[in-house]
């Protein structure tokens, strides 16, 4: 070996050692970094990796059904069949669409829309071609599946109201949650999810809604689903059983159909269970689910007959003469008049310089309480109202359930108004006038009530108990029926003898030859009805008009005609049903409202739906739950 190379080798070896040391140090850095990532920070990265690959998809639970008292379904879930197209499974999208177009109707515009959608999304994302397919179309598509690569059928659910406008107000409707509806429930985030917007759907939304399930999907970086890791089924919503009797409800709605704008409430006297709660006109709740066009919505909102309002609980009407029972009971309670004591009716009543008219221009002559109720003599009630003062009338009216919400389990109930002197001072800042007491004595002026309140009042008159109305009968949760407790109502603070006097008067209204509702007796020899008519003025009749001639209702525009009212109960001896009917601008209580009440009550006796208390809901047909 020559010397030069030996020196070179020495230098080389020294430097190679340094190089080796440096390289080893660098490798140590790598190992350290590995330790940092894979041991120290591993948990964080594991979580991030799972976040990457796991996609949690919510599963909407089926919404609970709404049933009538006998288990008849009123609102159900319908299978919504959709046909989907997955672009990457289709060799020729246009051709597939063309073949599909022979089976389902696809417009030129729809076709363009679908193609746009397909271009916008990744190839494996199914695009909806058509929704709400009927079963025939679905079968036709399934049969032709070999010619339709990439076409699949998907089942969703949508709410269906089987009786449309006939029970629209009680059931309400569902629609997508409004921005304000964002609660904790993750279901609200689900596209296509619906929440109850009014009626039972709204009041019992949480019961009906159920609990969301979820499906944990493993997805790749493109978002394609690789497999399902875990699936948790949700809890279906509870079925809600109402006190309504479907045939009676339908009958009541049908009976009111020609009345333009009206409401009727039929309830059980003892339990307060509402058997029918009708308000016309109705609307089609299915339309809200599918999606209402702007024009349709505007038309509904502007309809003068207010189809969206549940008039039975939200409509406020002067009770008119149906209020006279409250005045009579107050008079008896405070002993301002004896039942047999008579008041002379010359057709008008004078207080100071004002003149108050009786509905019969030439007067009723001498009237006792029974006659005054029977013939609805206004002058008699002017007189006892004056003797009582407004506050004592108001107290009795409140005892009977007026002047405050009844607390029925429906959203949107209004409380009405029973005026007192203190109320007027507070609300209007003016002192109470004597004349206003007289007007209140015949249920006009400030007095306002809902048809439901009038039905409750009648039930209380008939039973002497503080009846409260309710509409929820039972809740069915996973096959277990839970009845809603209805305790027997406590007795009212009213002398039963006084009630007897008043209800005898109501008997005479219907069943005596001179009663105002004598034409509306229940047919046949069966149970008898007692009741009271009411006709509430909606406009002031001027003195000049009085002097010339008061226009008949038929001669006035609809909006200026009197409201027609009737309240009643039956049978006379052991009352079971109470009813209130209000026909807006229906002219006369005896002529228009009483026959409606009679027909509904008659139907109620034919149906005899009110089972003795305590009997469980008949087993529900489990039916097809989707």
């Amino acid at each position: 070996m020559y010397r030069e190379d030996a020196e070179r080798q020495k230098l080389f070896s020294r430097r190679a050692a340094i190089l080796g040391g440096v390289q080893f140090a660098m490798v140590t850095v790598l190992a350290g970094r590995m330790y940092q990532l894979q041991v120290l920070e591993s948990d964080r990265f594991k979580m991030l990796a799972d976040e990457n690959r796991i996609n949690i998809r919510l599963l909407a639970p089926p919404r609970g059904r709404i049933l009538d008292r006998n288990g008849q379904p009123l609102a159900v879930n319908r299978k919504n069949y959709r046909v989907l197209l997955t672009a990457e499974q289709t060799p020729d999208i246009r051709r597939t669409l063309e073949i599909l177009g022979r089976l389902v109707d696809i417009g030129e515009e729809d076709r363009e829309q679908i193609l746009r959608e397909i271009r916008r999304r990744r190839g494996f994302v199914p695009v909806t071609v058509r929704e709400n397919l009927d079963w025939n179309t679905v079968s036709r598509i399934e049969v032709n599946a070999p010619d339709l690569p990439g076409v699949s059928i998907d089942v969703g659910q949508s709410r269906e109201y089987l009786y449309g406008p006939e029970i629209s107000h009680v059931l309400g409707y569902v629609s997508p949650p409004a921005p304000g509806d964002t609660g904790d429930d993750p279901l609200l985030q689900l596209p296509g999810f619906r929440v109850g917007k009014s009626g039972i759907e709204r009041r019992h939304d949480l019961r009906l809604r159920g609990k969301a399930g979820n499906s944990q999907l493993e997805v790749n970086a493109l978002g394609r689903v690789i497999r399902e890791l875990e699936r948790k089924e949700g809890v279906p919503g509870n079925d809600v059983v109402l006190t309504l009797d479907l045939p009676l409800q339908r009958f009541a709605t049908e009976r009111l159909r020609d009345m333009k704008s009206a409401a009727a409430v039929l309830m059980e006297v003892d339990s307060g269970a509402v058997l029918a709660l009708a308000s016309v006109p109705g609307y089609d709740p299915n339309a809200f689910n599918i999606g209402l066009s702007r024009d349709d919505w505007r038309a509904i909102r502007k309809d003068p007959y207010a189809p969206l309002i549940n008039k039975a609980i939200s409509g406020l009407y002067s009770p008119g003469s149906t209020f006279k029972m409250a005045v009579a009971l107050a008079a008896l309670k405070h002993n301002v008049i004896k039942p047999g004591e008579t008041v002379f009716c010359p057709g008008h009543y004078e207080l100071g310089r004002s003149k108050f008219h009786c509905w019969r221009k030439h007067g009723h002559g001498w009237m006792d309480m029974n006659g005054a109720l029977q013939q609805s003599c206004d002058v008699y009630f002017y007189e006892i109202a004056k003797r009582l003062g407004v506050d004592r009338i108001a107290a009795m009216a409140k005892t009977l359930g007026l002047g405050g919400a009844t607390g029925i389990d429906l959203p949107g109930e209004r409380g009405g108004l029973v005026p007192t002197a203190a109320w007027k001072k507070k609300a209007l800042g003016k002192p109470w006038q004597g004349g206003e007491t007289l007007v209140a004595g015949i249920g006009q002026g400030f007095v306002l009530s809902t048809p439901l309140q009038l039905a409750v009042m009648t039930a209380r008159l008939a039973s002497g108990r503080a009846v409260k109305p309710h509409i929820l009968r039972a809740v069915v949760s996973e096959g277990v029926t839970q009845m809603i407790d209805t305790q027997s109502a406590p007795p009212l603070d009213i002398d039963p003898g006084h009630l007897k006097i008043v209800t005898r008067g109501m008997d005479a209204v219907v069943n005596s030859p001179s009663g105002t509702a004598r034409a509306s007796r229940l047919p046949g020899d069966g149970p008898k009805m007692a009741g009271k008519t009411g006709t509430a003025q909606v406009r002031r009749i001027s003195r000049r008009e009085r002097e010339t001639r008061v226009l008949k209702n038929e001669e006035r525009p609809w909006k200026e005609r009197d409201h027609a009212l009737f309240v009643g109960f039956a049978p006379l001896d052991r009352p079971r049903y109470a009813i209130a009917v209000v026909v807006e601008h229906g002219s006369g209580g005896s002529k228009v409202a009483a026959p409606v009440a009679r027909d509904i009550l008659h139907q109620a006796f034919l149906r005899n739906p009110a089972a003795p208390p305590g009997q469980p809901v008949p087993p529900l047909d489990p039916g097809e739950r989707i």
């Binding site: 190089l19 080893f24 970094r33 990532l37 041991v39 591993s42 990796a49």
Partner: protein, 382 residues
Amino acid sequence: MRLGAAYDPGNMSLGRKLRMISWPMVLLLCMLSAVGFGMLYSAASGDWNPWAVRQLIRFGIGMTLMLTIAVTDIRIWMRYAYFLYFVALTLLVAVEVMGVIGMGAQRWIDLKFIQLQPSEIMKIALVLALARYFHGLSAEETGRISWLIFPVLLVLAPAALVLRQPDLGTAVMMGLSAAVMFFLAGVRLWKFALAGGAVLAALPIAWSFLHGYQRRRVLTFLDPESDPLGAGYHIIQSKIALGSGGLFGKGFLGGTQSHLNFLPEKQTDFIFTMLAEEFGMVGGLALLGLYILIIAYGFLISLRVRNQFARLAALGIVSVFFFYTFINIAMVMGLVPVVGVPLPMVSYGGTSMLSLMIGFGIVISANVHRDLQIGRRGEDIT
């Protein structure tokens, strides 16, 4: 002829050469490649196609080449070192010209069975050329700056061409391996400091020459979270894959990040990430250990060689191998910017594997010819 030397190192029989091949090194390289086949099998979700089979074929070709070179007289490599360098440089210019014609960055020449990347060949050719040059330099000459101008040009020419491609990673690797050659040849340390200072000073100028995406990569490297869906995506996903692998990994074929495609380029640049995801830190360290063994063995060989060309060439090639490994692993762990350097012998890719195996052929040849002494001008010394 030395006393006691039982053979003539300048004229060995084939049998003797075969016996002197460092078979442990061959075995280690086979093991390393086997790891690669396994990971390519996993990258294809449990399929030998499309990557593992082709990699295996290339490995077969590479092994033949390597052993052939190992028994070829090392003086031939010394003689043709400049020629080889010239050929590689010509090819680099050729892809540059083709790239201009083809309207875009092109780094390879299509030879049907392999897409030849001249830059990969250049990495080896540069080492050989520099070894050849420093072999011919005396100690005093090595100390003079004037003698260093030529080798610096040898480095700058291909580095500039590669930078134009643009391939920052390869250019950096050429610079680093050249620096190692200069260092091993005995160039004074203060000159490195000077060169380092010059590079630092040139950085702002270089920055202005960088392509937009290269700048973005450097910036993203400094703060990957700033662009999680864009340029930072690769490195974030790679770290998630590595980290979620934990100590023992998710199991062979069980890497979710890799198999669900969150990890990009898993069969090439990010194959180490996949390994570390599926086999955890234990697997990663084991592979790192294999690399250390190969490199250490390379060191041992170069230290025993008795001529300057072979030991410079051997340790230079081993250093190229080291830089590949270090830059790739550091890159996938977010320690250096993503520069597109494959994991040697494991990543899918033909040219880098073939050129590395040619390189190891020379390393082994250095071992075979370790007792051969060669004069400064190439003359035999006996």
